[in-house]
Point group: C2
């Protein structure tokens, strides 16, 4: 394997941090950029990571002590400071730029006008600034972007979701049938997911017009907290979000189970979603870095997920392990009550990904994270109080849980 | 016809100003918002409108003197000042918001990183702020947005371009065929056109999630300068751009003819484009205002164009009228040398639009605008010096014309 010079934008976050460590461990030269927006939003929301995460300085020091490897760090807001970004790229000339620098919580993106506008401006400008700077500097950098399965929407109509592109047939007015390979028509379910759909158009244009090499990873919901690298030292621990905005469904179930509260299922729990363990995420990122697309005008799109479950099934699995009860509450999202989901993920499997399944990994997660740090839990932060439409406001959809 | 309360965002611009006057003339209550970005870019580029345009204050005073009608004005940058926009909408509660508030020149959007980032940030934030504010305030406002034919791209493959949506057939993995009505897959040719494609995703989401009523007008290249209303008084005159960034192909031909220079055709001139006269544009806007979509979760998309021509044909038409010579120069754009284009525009025709054709209107335009104001022309501003890729820089694609 050839050592690459890799810049991880958003390298302080839940996916970015373990990815940076994993790539560093593999022998790549890794630099991190972050603006600490995720930590600031914790302060804004009064939320916290269940796991006690260290400062970037302590994290990098611990990594150096454990492995002898050095990761560089620059605090830059790539969405608002194009000039600093361009300057860094000009000096670094990275082989690969991994772009995690986006606001990534759907509920947060739906809270109100401020959060909607922030999510759109931050995510679109971050992505576009990176593409414009690479183009201007004529860099050879391969961009690897973390997208989401959510851009596809959750229509259940007998079609397996392909990897980004859909083969369709168009009847011409000359009675001929014209086959075309199009970007899968997106149907995002939140402002956050919408920004990832818009990112796709940015990638499509810069791949076509400027022949940039871009890989877009449409990721499922990530579960798990630790990777081989973050387990090396407590100071390297990854974040675990359980609040109503940033905590994904599985984390909130584990947290509820750990504090002896019923698992709150939104609606019927018939929503099917795609999942992947954080350890598999960092493996996928390494595989994406090693397998850039040709400079052929087309974005490489991969589905980064390993299994699908309904929310109801998840609750049952967690309940089986923990003996927690299950309670159904109103669904704050504007979505179908029930949907099927079949997803093609053959590229990563063919590249050698060996998935960790929920059934095998969930017990560890429960004991090593949720139970171990349960005393740090702010119980009132668990319910989702962001709603999808103005008619659901004001007031909470779900009552906060009693402490 | 019921009088409506209409806000025209970008009402100082080339399409916005005559639209505001036309709607005011029809008896609607009209308010204008503008940030004068277009006038500032003139200063930045050292360009000017061939026609001497008055200040907004003089324009509104002249309108009042000529017609007795009052148009309100607020200077707000809707892309960067969400709070001011929300405040204005809360007090105005418009029935209709016409959104022209975007940077609209493809060559300008390709000049360099600054112009690319500005175009993306301005256009996306302007559109999104409007949608977020309407949603937050629970207004009933119908949004009418000026999009572009350019979002469709110019693939020539036997399919007439429909009005926004494309009927396709998808083969399922269960051997069934699934018909779907999808947003026409976009293939924008510049950063500017890309922002209009991204706007479509914003509209799709807010129509679906918040049931906003939105009409998106995919407009062809506008030609002509004056409308019935802007002709009423010299102080009401509309702008005429002939510079390489903002001047569209026909204006630059007319300008070249007026100063005795050969008409410069980019490449072979085999590019087919859609056109519409500014007088027809304002009629289309009035028709769109009168015919809002249902609150059915779907954006209403109309093609706002009346005829198609190749650039070569245009040059021949202008040459026939003016005796100008024709010269072929390099094409700065990254596009096919030749393409066909057939466009469905049946909705506006069925609503009563009676198009002004190039053949009948071009002589007036030549005499009343290009010849009359030829002495104000800055000859060195006519060539397009913006290029589509970094490999074409630095240096000019076309030599500036000798004065």
């Amino acid at each position: 394997m050839k050592m690459k010079n890799i810049l991880v934008i958003g390298g302080d976050g839940f996916c970015g941090w373990p990815t940076a460590l994993h790539l560093s461990n593999l022998g790549h030269k890794v630099s991190i950029v972050d603006n600490f927006a995720r930590r600031e939003i914790d302060i804004e929301l009064g939320a916290n990571s269940l796991t006690p995460i260290c400062s970037m300085k302590e994290r990098l020091q611990a990594w150096k002590e454990e492995t002898g490897k050095i990761i560089a760090f620059d605090e830059i807001d790539v969405a608002t400071d194009y000039d600093q970004l361009e300057k860094l790229l000009a000096s670094l000339k990275p082989d690969t730029i991994i772009h995690f620098g986006e606001q990534r919580a759907a509920p947060y993106s739906m809270k109100g006008s401020y959060e909607k506008c922030y999510t759109v401006e931050n995510n679109i400008s971050a992505t576009h600034n990176i593409l414009a700077a690479i183009t201007h500097l004529k860099l050879d950098s391969h961009v690897v972007h973390l997208g989401t399965m959510g851009v596809y929407g959750y229509d259940d109509d007998g079609i397996e979701i392909p990897e980004g592109y859909l083969k369709v047939y168009i009847p011409g007015d000359d009675k001929q049938i014209y086959p075309r390979d199009i970007l899968y028509p997106t149907n995002p379910g939140s402002v956050y997911h919408m920004t990832k759909s818009m990112d796709q158009l940015l990638f499509q244009f810069y791949a076509k017009n400027d022949r940039l090499r871009i890989t877009d990873l449409h990721q499922g919901i990530v579960w798990g907290t630790q990777t081989a690298e973050t387990k090396l030292d407590d100071r390297l621990i990854n974040r675990f979000d359980y609040d109503g905005d940033y905590g994904t469904v599985l984390n909130r179930f584990l947290m509820q189970a750990a504090i002896g509260h019923p698992l709150t299922v939104h609606g019927t729990g018939g929503q099917t979603r795609a999942f992947i363990h954080i350890q598999d995420t960092v493996q996928c990122l390494a595989l994406a870095v090693e397998n850039p697309p040709e400079r052929n005008g087309k974005v490489k799109i991969l589905n980064q997920m390993t299994e699908t479950h309904t929310v109801r099934d998840l609750a049952n699995i967690v309940s089986k392990i923990t003996d927690a009860l299950i309670a159904n509450v109103d669904n704050p999202r504007n979505e179908a009550a029930e949907n099927g989901l079949r997803v093609c993920n053959k590229t990563f499997i063919s590249l050698g990904l060996k998935p960790i399944t929920l059934e095998e990994g969930l017990m560890d997660e429960t004991q090593e994270i949720a139970m171990r740090f349960a005393k740090r839990c702010q119980v009132n932060m668990i319910p989702c109080v962001s709603t999808w439409t103005e008619n659901q406001r004001p007031g909470l959809v779900q009552k906060p849980l009693a402490a």
